[in-house]
């Protein structure tokens, strides 16, 4: 049973914070403004109802650091 997960390319992420605004149910900001999952997972699962917002976050990220992956 594969799930959709949000992957952060940490070599690209610049902590601009748009994703945490667009996916507040999934992400918060850490001490330095980088996105961190509420669950603490490296690749948080994106439930069906959040997939549109997640796609928007992936599209809007100024650093192109986000990707949705199937695991």
């Amino acid at each position: 049973m594969s799930t959709t997960r949000l992957h952060v390319d940490w070599t690209a992420c610049d902590g601009r914070g748009l994703c945490a605004e667009l996916l507040p149910e999934l992400l918060a900001e850490d001490d330095w403004g980088y996105p961190v999952a509420h669950t603490g997972e490296a690749e948080p699962e994106v439930p069906r109802q959040l997939q549109d917002s997640a796609r928007r976050a992936v599209d809007r990220c100024p650093a192109l650091a986000l990707r949705l992956v199937q695991r």
Partner: protein, 411 residues
């Protein structure tokens, strides 16, 4: 560092025989390597149960199968960069038995149908391996050409994707893994990156068979491994032993403790602290309850009169300085983690420091392109547990090491 002759439980296989690095000695002792096809190689390795000796301990036959499954002509890379300062086994192996490593490299390259092979080594090993390769060229031993790349002296330069970047001519820093290296590595080709020690074992398994390999070690963790024993021992060096060897035997083979020991860091700077019990067996199974593993064979002995927290803070500071610099949580988190631990270790303690250390360790874990922050966090958490008495003392304004009359040993 020198190798030491083996007492009973410690065995010499890789490091048996004249360790002069010469081709004629090698051929005289081992003969020319056999040629194996992919199927036979995988079968042998699976039966032998060889796992990677670079620290991760992944079954070698599985990795090779993954590369075989991926489309495209594979590339093979032997990783002897050994960025870990407490480790010397790869350098020793490349100096004493380069031809075992190079045999293994050719065996795998031929079996996989690779047309290019890379050897990634520390600067200290470069001249020696180049000479070894030249001698082999003269003897017609290397059908697959080997390119030597010198690794920068950096902790993260030995990480798998950093290795791929370095041999491809890019800076030796880890990459975001879009796809597994076994599917897409050097030049987008399926790439097999193996530690040099793994390849050396492979070269012997190809000659002597899986049963011979399994005659050492334990049933679940067969074979020998190279341990770099250092710290508070009288004759630090590289010791070869089968998995399951008693910690005490390893320390004895390195001259014995220089003074009574309190703890040992196993696996390297990303490893785990265990109590200095001589009967403790060095194997995944025996170490798992302590949150440790043999890793890449590093055994760092801490004397009783040193402060475990101070030593951990020193290592954490080193690791914080060794970040590649690419990933925000690591670049920011590791120095903060090291600083917080430093406060605890050097009597700037305040209540809530242990909780802050744990919070930061959890914050950096998993949030980087490589496992540098994860490994650093893991080592620190294991220290908080192994040295819990020290943590309590430091919070109360005391230090167990200072109380015992000595200051911590500093390198």
């Amino acid at each position: 560092m020198t190798t030491v002759d083996a007492p009973a439980q410690v065995q010499l296989r890789l490091l048996a025989g004249p360790n002069d690095g010469r081709l004629d000695t090698h051929l005289g002792r081992h003969g020319r390597p056999p040629v194996l096809d992919a199927g036979r190689l995988v079968e042998l390795l699976r039966a032998a149960g060889l796992t990677g000796r670079g620290g991760a301990g992944f079954p070698t036959w599985r990795k090779i199968e993954a590369v075989l499954r991926a489309p495209g002509t594979p590339v093979v890379v032997a990783n002897g960069s050994e960025g870990e300062p407490a480790s010397g086994k790869d350098r020793a192996l490349l100096a004493y038995q380069p031809h075992l490593v190079l045999d293994g490299l050719q065996l795998v390259a031929a079996a996989l149908g690779a047309r290019t092979a890379h050897l990634y080594v520390a600067a200290a090993s470069a001249d020696g391996v180049r000479a070894a390769l030249a001698a082999r060229r003269g003897a017609g031993l290397d059908p697959v050409a080997v390119t030597v790349t010198v690794a920068p002296e950096a902790f993260v330069a030995g990480e798998e994707s950093a290795v791929v970047a370095a041999v491809s001519g890019r800076p030796a820093v880890p990459a975001d893994k879009l796809r597994r290296i076994t599917e897409s590595g050097v030049g987008g080709a399926p790439t097999l990156v193996q530690n040099v020690e793994t390849l050396a074992h492979l070269a012997l398994i190809a000659r002597h068979g899986p049963a011979w390999f399994r005659a050492a070690g334990t049933h679940d963790e067969p074979g020998t491994f190279l341990a770099t024993v250092g710290g508070a021992v009288d004759a630090p060096g590289v010791i070869e032993a089968g998995y399951g060897v008693r910690l005490g035997d390893l320390v004895d083979a390195a001259g014995g403790p220089a003074s009574p020991l309190q703890a040992v860091l196993l696996g390297g700077y990303h490893g785990g602290w265990v109590p200095a019990r001589p009967e403790l067996e060095v194997s995944r199974a025996a170490l798992a309850p302590f949150g440790a593993s043999p890793g890449a064979g590093i055994v760092l002995a801490l004397p009783a009169h040193a402060c475990g927290l101070a030593e951990t803070a020193r290592i954490a500071g080193y690791l914080a300085g060794e970040v590649a610099g690419q990933c925000g949580p690591c670049v920011n988190g590791l120095p903060r983690l090291a600083g917080t631990l430093g406060d605890l270790a050097h009597h700037r303690a305040r209540a809530g420091l242990p909780a802050e250390v744990r919070r930061l360790a959890a914050l950096v874990t998993g949030r980087g392109a490589c496992r540098h922050p994860d490994g650093t966090a893991r080592m620190i958490i294991s220290a908080m547990s192994a040295f819990d008495a020290d943590v309590a003392a430091h919070l109360a304004g005391r230090c167990l090491a200072a109380d015992s009359g000595h200051q911590g040993v500093r390198r």
